[in-house]
Symmetry: C2
Subunit: 224 residues, 2 copies
């Protein structure tokens, strides 16, 4: 899951669900906090998230960290480059996964259709990452946080009593490392959006979106 620019809060983007899940292996499950793989591990499987949320991170020697992406239902993680993983990956909550053999992506002989779907997942990954570049390089803190909420709302938001709600299973520090900010800034920005009546912070892990269009405006930087 990357933060794309234009995701509309209302229109839920279609979750690409791969057609025949059961070819390679049964569904796997990992508990919150457990690691699926580490940077440097050899790639044997790709995983499509069925339920739950994954976190992909990369560490710099000096302790700096970048959250590369969050893996939400529908997302495929674990694309190999040079045969090994380039990020750590752990689960933020209990998570169910559909594994696919790496070979299924790399040579389509065995199952053309599945091969094609994994390939499409890889290609849309590229496109999503390009969007995220714009975000990291060219957006202000408010725009980043608003975009983040906006996209999450579009992807995995839910409705309750006519208002949109978003769960944030990750810590503030994860959001910060995903957006290229500090925890303090993320926190301050959320507070600011709360005070201006755009969101309500139901609890640390749940945000209510009171004014979706205002949120979208913030995300796009429509001069405040």
């Amino acid at each position: 899951m990357y933060v794309t620019l234009s995701a509309d809060y209302q229109s839920r983007t279609a979750v690409p669900s791969i057609s025949r899940p059961c070819l390679s292996a049964r569904e796997a499950q990992i508990k919150a906090g457990a690691y699926l793989f580490y940077e440097g591990d050899e790639v044997t499987w790709l995983y499509q998230v069925t339920s739950g949320v994954l976190r992909l991170t990369r560490l710099l020697e000096n302790g700096r960290r970048q959250v590369i992406a969050f893996g939400y239902p529908g997302d495929v993680v674990g694309f190999p480059a040079g045969g090994c993983h380039h990020t750590d990956c752990d689960a933020l909550v209990d998570t169910c996964l559909q594994p696919y053999r790496k070979s299924l992506l790399e040579n389509g002989e065995s199952d053309i259709e599945l091969h094609g779907e994994l390939l499409q997942a890889a290609l849309s990954e590229i496109s999503a990452m390009q969007d995220h570049f714009m975000m990291l390089g060219r957006k202000s803190a408010v725009e980043k946080v608003a975009s983040f909420l906006n996209v999450l709302a579009g992807r995995v938001g839910r409705y309750e009593n006519g208002v949109g709600k978003v769960d944030l299973p990750m810590r503030r520090a994860d959001i910060a490392d995903f957006l290229g900010l500090t925890t303090e800034t993320v926190s301050r920005t959320l507070t600011q959006m709360r005070k201006s009546g755009i969101i309500e912070i139901e609890n640390i892990h749940t945000v209510v979106i009171l004014r979706p269009t205002a949120l979208t405006s913030l995300a796009q930087g429509d001069e405040d």
Copy 2:
């Protein structure tokens, strides 16, 4: 071309050259300044750069711009997502390209080997982009500019009289939009590196690297 973190100035990374270039179409050529495709265009071809340099950019409504990547010899550009291009692409200098039909990537039936190589190009693109995230989100201006020079030196640097030289065919504004900075900051940073004797600015489009290891240190943020 993305700026990866660990590229060593000395060791030239292998340029992945695709094996049988002539299957799909003859080599194409475009002049400096000419556009190869625009955002939104339908994808028919992928292109591997043979010689020259491409620039991939994306525009935001409000005029903000992100240079997504530079396409150097060996790089493959034009991966489709949803069938269309997600960036503009133009040439910084006269550029030669080897086109490959999009279908070659999407269904490998016709040529397994070529299909596999394009797929690998896509996968290493993903990995390179992940590196670039760290750069955009977590590096200072000096670290960014130093990394940029460092990687370029490794990829396309040349030696003259025992010193490494790098050509920068792009404008300062392109470097800025690639690194998430302003032109002024890029300029100031280069000046600063010149004054501290790490580089020499032979002319606007050529940088001499006087102290490669110092440059690498700067790039990695080894506390100055």
